[in-house]
Structure formats: C-alpha cells, structure tokens
C-alpha cells in the first residue's frame, strides 16, 4: 500500500515554464518530506526537503508548498530548463523512523 500518492505520472513543459508535482499522504506521523531527483542511470539525490512547521521552502528555482491540514505538499519548478528533465519523487517519514515512503515518481520532460 502506497503511503504517499504522487501525481501526475509524467509531464511535459516548455523551457521557461513551471512544472508542478503534487503529493498527498494519510499518515499524520509523517514529519519530514524530502523530494528526490533522479536522472537516467543514476541514483535518486535529495533536491529539497521540508518539515511541517513551515508552509513553504524555496531553494533557487525549486519551491515546496506544504499544506498540513490537507496533508498535501507540492514541488514547483520555476523557469524549467532542459537540464531539469528527470524523475522526481516525493517522500515522507516519521521523525523516529528510518522507513522512507516514496511516491510513485513523476517524469518531467522540459522541451527546449
């Protein structure tokens, strides 16, 4: 049973556009919400992460928006570039647990 639901499965965006990926969870014990970026042939790498005590976190062109009451969080990629083409995974786990639950992944393609 997938504990973190992620959508869309894939998206195509033009260079300079905004990519938006959404995730939802049920487990209220989740306390840490990282996003991972995976390029073909590579392992996932941490992109940005948020804890539920803040509603937004921005790092460069990447922003996480977090809605604790709705149990939803999203990744926005502003000014998308071809180099951003990758698979993005949202994830979550409780603070006292080592078991990171991943979403199903979103393949982002940025067209030049």
């Amino acid at each position: 049973q997938q504990q973190v639901k992620q959508s869309p499965q894939s998206l195509i965006v033009q260079k300079g556009g905004i990519s938006i990926i959404n995730c939802a969870y049920e487990n209220t014990a989740f306390d840490y919400f990282p996003w991972y970026q995976q390029f073909p042939g590579k392992g996932p790498a941490l992109l940005i992460a948020i804890r539920p005590d803040v509603s937004e976190k921005k790092e460069g062109r990447f922003t996480i928006s977090f809605n604790k009451s709705a149990k939803q969080f999203s990744l926005h990629i502003m000014d998308s570039q071809p180099g951003d083409s990758a698979t993005y995974f949202c994830a979550a786990y409780p603070l006292d647990d080592y078991k990171l639950s991943f979403g199903a992944g979103t393949t982002v393609t940025v067209r030049a």
Partner: protein, 113 residues
C-alpha cells in the same frame, strides 16, 4: 570520491543462480539501506541496518539476505534468482538518527534471464 558505491553496476544472470551485490559508504553514516526500484520506477525499501544491526526487514522473500560486516558495508545476497527479481537495486546510507537525508548509490541493474 564516491560517497555510496555499489558493485557490480550491471549484472545479467540466469534463473536459479545465486548472486551478490556489494555496497560501501565513506560518509561515516551509521545506517545503511537496500532499496529496490522496479520497471515502473517505484522505489521500495527492502532492508536497513543501523550499526550492523538489522532494523528494517520488509516483506522480502527469504532468498534475499543482507549482511553488514561493519557499519560502512552492506551487501545483498540473492539465492535462486527468479525473473521477477530483475530490477535496479540501490544501496543508500544516512546519519544515525531517523528523519535525515538518505544518500543513494548509483544502482545495480540486475537482469535475470
């Protein structure tokens, strides 16, 4: 320097064989993991060790056996390989406390024919 390294990167083997994947991390982390990524890219945890002690053992066939000789190494041995074992296996590590960033290796592509 590679932080989490695993070998081999590619492995093609026949059904019924036994194979091992080795993993080493040089980050000084206390916790190591094995994740499986299937053909649909879904990532699922298999095992986790903290200071050589097994702390997570998901519902994985007992043909899969992890071994951690020390906290910098976590190997995965698979007996009697089946077609359904074909996947990418990622080793990962994190600092000792939960809720920390997990660092992944580059993956081992296992194909069972």
């Amino acid at each position: 320097d590679t932080a989490v390294s695993q070998t081999p990167k590619y492995l093609v083997t026949q059904m019924g064989n036994d194979k091992s994947i080795k993993c080493e991390q040089n980050l000084g982390h206390d916790t190591m993991y094995w994740y499986k990524q299937d053909s649909k890219k879904f990532l699922k945890i298999m095992f986790s060790y903290n200071n050589k002690e097994l702390i997570i053992n998901e519902t994985v066939p007992n043909r899969f056996s992890p071994k951690s000789p020390d906290k910098a190494h976590l190997n995965l041995h698979i007996n009697s390989l089946e077609l359904g074992d074909s996947a990418v296996y990622f080793c990962a590590s994190s600092p000792g406390t939960a809720g920390n960033t997990i660092y992944f290796g580059e993956g081992s592509w296992l194909t069972v024919v």
